[in-house]
């Protein structure tokens, strides 16, 4: 017998069971798709951070920085150059071009080391234009679109630039940022002349930051990528479980074929090689589909991920995916490795089980008593560990540890809880069919438990993340209502126009609230310091978390400042702590305010205190308090009088709407991930029910023979699935709420620095329950149709003496 003939015999199994083959291939494709999709997103984002770090931060080289976060005097740079050091100055800050705020990086192209991947100025003419007034701003095409017409500077578009950033000459940067004679850092070239005076002697107040340190953005986004990876791994694991159960059953069902082939002279080794080849073939086919779907998933998710990263962390990631060859290779590798891992047990059984042992496809789906006991013990240990981490550990990793242990422990516990529940129901029922219904549901449990665990995780994630996002949204909108108290916001295009505007507005509005801010470094962190006037608006509306009595008097006097929650938590500040805001400016923390969605620290000081230290601070933007019915008139008057473009005059409603839109866009990806998770669970359920339906006949035929119609059996089958889904859904609610609490009270605080109150949204649970119900009905539809349409002759085969 040739190998080909043997292979044909083995493959004929799949021809007879196309749905089983479909479940196997879809499980594999799903595992590959979601894993490689998530990896692609992470790789793209990380490549973007690396590019940003390399281009914007010259991250490949060492830098001299000020350890206390203060600005470096330009004289330090001059001293180093004179001493022969090959160094180059950089000044960074945020600057508003009209309504667009950009990260401005001032460089000195003549001294910038050649190995830095900064801006390409091409030729001497470009270089001259860059360093001589009026100067050039080098930006990405996207940024150029935004700031065109908002600046008198010439724009130069570069594809290598990242959105939201601009390269300019350092002299120009010092003027725009009003930081004459100051530097943010000094880049040190790799090649230096030997025998130079040590840096420690020349600039003793500065320290060297080595190259390739993890960038701030990478650090900030770590938790987000960890979340994505966890989701990818969950989907991968569920996909592999589908593969595991399908292959296990297929091997058991083919045992007679294996036996026949062995009896006809096919060696065990040859049989193993054939089966392995079959699996690799399937893995490659499903891997190709998986990688393609993964690419599609990544492409669909990436814009959402980019929005989330920008909204939450201020990280810029392109919304388009580049197709990398290593991605294809790793996709196929993961498909093959996943197949081999999930079929290893079946292959080992093939090698070990005696040639003439009978097949036991019914027994195959059951788990052993010892296995169940181990599962419960493992669940208890994980839940205990989760509690211990919550009580005694802190940090982001510990937060994720609490989440991981909680979810895994609860899902491992689910089969035991459901089994106990079903036993209880069985014991309390007296009618024969009802008793059988519960008993049969309990018997199906081992075969369905993996799918139910996946469902529990998916539902809990939906409830948990949904509660977190909705709580966030509710708090955010309430906070926005408080914070955006001014009826109209106006931005002048230059200081001259701003002066005229102030004078003009004085007689027309109830109060003018200047929005002035400077970028600074406080306690080594990049910060924004806002100056506010003493106005009842702030006293009435500004959302404070804690504050001393008469807090606004302290702010107005310049002796006290407010800090945002994230800075307060990050620095573990207390009321009364003193902050070093500038070289001659110290102020005490007198209050803390919520500042959702801002990755950076922020300080609010009295406007006089700010402007006396920063006399040239830009005063282009204003909040205006007017009676609501006067807003429209004032808006048109402003437009007529000053010719301001519409984007420079925003009313409160428009601004709130804009903020809400940004918020919703930020959490778009969580919604998509929730749907994917639920889809994965539904597919796992479908696959499990399909696998079980192959083994159901011997369990159902005796009941049918005793007078229960096929229709009633099918209805009971539907009801059983729905009961298990419902029980899992009910179990998912407390788990989801626990997940939400950990996210809000532990993970968010560690990751973002703000803590949100938790709200309950029962309506969302009903909606999720209905979606889950629809998924349950869909997942049971095909197995049910098969059962309802089963010919009596099929059921009779169960009782036939020669089956």
């Amino acid at each position: 017998m040739t190998m080909w003939t043997a292979a044909t015999a083995l493959l004929s199994h799949w021809r007879r069971r196309p749905l089983q083959l479909g479940a196997l291939l879809s499980g594999l494709a799903l595992a590959t798709a979601l894993w490689s999709g998530v990896q692609a997103i992470n790789a793209e984002a990380r490549a973007s951070y690396a590019r940003a770090a390399a281009v914007l931060d010259q991250n490949g080289l060492a830098h001299l920085v000020s350890p206390n976060g203060r600005a470096i005097p330009q004289s330090a740079f001059v001293r180093l150059r004179r001493a022969g050091w090959n160094v180059s100055p950089v000044l960074e800050g945020e600057y508003r071009f009209g309504t667009t705020r950009l990260r401005v990086i001032g460089i000195e192209p003549l001294t910038m080391p050649a190995e830095t991947d900064t801006v390409d100025l091409g030729n001497a003419e470009d270089l001259l234009s860059f360093i001589t007034p009026p100067g050039i701003v080098v930006v990405s095409p996207g940024t150029a679109e935004k700031i065109r017409g908002q600046t008198d500077l010439a724009l130069r578009v570069s594809d290598r630039m990242l959105d939201g950033a601009a390269f300019i000459d350092i002299g120009l940067a010092q003027r725009l940022l009003r930081r004459e004679g100051e530097l943010s850092r000094i880049v040190i070239a790799e090649n230096q002349r030997p025998g130079l005076e040590p840096l420690g002697t020349l600039v003793p107040t500065l320290s060297v930051r080595e190259s390739n340190a993890q960038s701030d953005v990478e650090h900030l986004t770590e938790s987000f990528h960890l979340n994505l990876t966890a989701f990818g791994f969950l989907a991968f694991a569920v996909g592999l479980l589908i593969v595991y159960s399908t292959i296990g059953l297929a091997f058991e069902q083919r045992r007679p074929t294996f036996r026949t082939l062995r009896c006809l002279g096919v060696s065990l080794r040859a049989l193993a090689v054939l089966l392995l080849s079959e699996l690799v073939l399937f893995a490659l086919a499903a891997g190709a589909v998986g990688v393609a779907i993964g690419y599609l998933v990544a492409s669909l998710l990436l814009p959402g991920v980019a929005a989330t990263l920008e909204g939450l962390y201020g990280a810029s990631v392109p919304g388009t995916l580049s197709l990398r060859p290593e991605w294809w290779v790793s996709g196929f590798a993961i498909a093959v490795a996943g197949t081999l891992v999930s079929s290893a047990q079946s292959l080992l059984r093939l090698m070990r089980v005696p040639l003439l042992a009978a097949a036991q496809p019914q027994a195959w789906g059951r788990s052993s008593q010892a296995g169940r006991r181990f599962q419960v013990l493992a669940a208890a240990a994980l839940l205990a560990l989760s509690g211990a981490l919550l009580l005694w550990a802190d940090g982001l990793q510990a937060g994720f540890g609490v989440l991981g242990c909680l979810l895994l422990g609860a899902s491992l516990l689910l089969p035991a809880v459901l089994s106990s529940l079903l036993t209880l129901m069985q014991r309390t029922s007296s009618r024969a069919l009802v008793t059988w219904f519960w008993a049969d549901a309990r018997q199906q449990l081992p075969g369905l438990s993996l799918a139910l665990m996946a469902l529990l995780l998916a539902l809990a994630a939906n409830v948990g993340v949904g509660t977190m996002v909705s709580s966030f949204r509710l708090t955010f909108i309430g906070w926005l209502d408080q914070r955006l108290a001014a009826e109209l916001y106006v931005a002048a295009r230059n200081e001259g126009e701003a002066d005229r505007l102030r004078t003009w507005l004085a007689a027309k509005v109830e109060s003018v609230l200047p929005i002035v801010s400077v970028d600074a470094e406080v306690r080594g962190q990049p910060m924004q310091i806002f100056g506010v006037v003493d106005d009842p608006t702030y006293r009435k509306h500004w959302p404070l978390i804690v504050g001393i009595p008469d807090v606004w008097d302290w702010v107005a006097s310049g002796e006290g400042v407010l800090v945002n929650e994230q800075f307060w938590r990050r620095e573990r500040l207390s009321i009364g702590d003193e902050l070093d805001l500038a070289s001659d400016w110290k102020a005490a923390v007198v209050g803390v305010y919520s500042d959702y969605g801002n990755p950076k620290g922020q300080v609010i000081a009295g406007i006089s205190a700010l402007t006396s230290r920063y006399p040239h601070v830009s005063r282009l933007r204003y909040g205006l308090r007017v009676k609501p019915d006067q807003v429209a008139d004032l808006r048109s008057s402003l437009s007529d009088e000053f010719g301001l473009p519409p984007e420079n005059i925003l009313d409160q409603a428009a601004l709130k709407e804009q903020s809400r839109r940004i918020f919703d866009r930020t959490f778009l990806v969580t919604g998509a991930l929730n749907i994917f998770t639920l889809g994965v669970a539904a597919l796992a359920m479908f696959s499990s029910l399909l696998t079980l339906s192959e083994m159901r006949l011997p369990q159902l035929a005796p009941v049918w023979a005793m007078g229960v119609t096929r229709r009633d059996l099918a209805l009971l089958e539907l009801l059983r699935t729905l009961v298990l889904w419902l029980a899992t859904f009910i179990a998912a609610l407390p788990l989801g709420l626990a997940l939400a609490w950990v996210l809000l009270a532990v993970v968010n605080v560690e990751a973002f620095g703000w803590r949100l109150p938790m709200h309950i949204f029962p309506y969302e649970w009903v909606r999720l329950g209905l979606v889950a119900l629809a998924a349950a009905v869909v997942s049971v539809f095909i197995p049910l149709r098969r059962l309802a349409g089963l010919a009596p002759s099929e059921l009779l085969k169960v009782f036939a003496n020669e089956r």
């Binding site: 019914q362 229709r711 002759s793």
Partner: protein
């Protein structure tokens, strides 16, 4: 229960074409009569039993049980007939795997609305399955499973007991013991018994024998 089969025909579609399994069967069974149905493999014994049990429908002919033609009943009607009037014992896969022995024994009687605990206890005692009541079918030997199946069938006190090779999986000694118990108990309930068997030795122990050859009774 009186049974009358009139000109019963049944065929199946196979890869080779239509296969006629029963070709005009006529048979009468008196109330409480115990009849052995014998024949070669493939002669149609099981098919005939399934038709009488209401598990399948004939192509034509009548199956009159207690004065009612069950071949005219729809799926629901035939299910009700099986539930109320028939007890079935097969060679294998008799028991409901998710229920323990006690629940299996009571199952059909409860479905039929004739649950009688005293009668069940008596059956358990006479079948010698008292120590097995809390076990599940997969924890029983084949002989024990057959005893439980007989107990379950008789617990419902059906008017008609249909058995398809009930001792086919058992050795001779066990088979004899199981059959003996079944015959004695069914006699006590007054049930009509139609038993399919290959074994002439077993057939000899019943009231009457009918032999099926190529779809026809001899």
């Amino acid at each position: 229960m009186v049974i009358a089969l009139r000109n019963l025909r049944k065929s199946y579609e196979t890869a080779e074409g239509r296969l006629e399994v029963l070709r005009g069967i006529n048979l009468d069974l008196g109330a409480g009569e115990r009849v052995a149905l014998t024949g070669e493999s493939g002669s149609g014994k099981s098919t005939l039993l399934h038709l009488v049990a209401g598990l399948d429908r004939p192509d034509s002919g009548e199956i009159v049980i207690g004065g009612r033609d069950i071949s005219k009943l729809d799926d629901r009607g035939r299910a009700a007939y099986r539930r109320a009037e028939v007890g079935l014992v097969f060679q294998q896969f008799n028991l409901v795997p998710s229920l323990d022995v006690a629940e299996n024994i009571a199952f059909h009687a409860k479905l039929a609305g004739r649950h009688d605990l005293a009668w069940e206890n008596e059956l358990v005692e006479r079948l010698g399955i008292g120590p097995l009541l809390t076990r599940y079918p997969e924890q029983l030997s084949t002989g024990q499973q057959q005893r439980v199946a007989i107990g379950r069938t008789l617990a419902a006190r059906p008017g008609l007991v249909l058995a398809d090779e009930p001792t086919g999986n058992l050795d001779e000694a066990n088979g004899d013991a199981v059959l003996e118990t079944m015959l004695s108990l069914s006699k006590g309930t007054g049930s009509t018994l139609l038993l399919v068997t290959h074994s002439q030795r077993l057939a000899d122990r019943l009231d009457r024998q009918v032999h099926l050859r190529s779809g026809k009774l001899e």
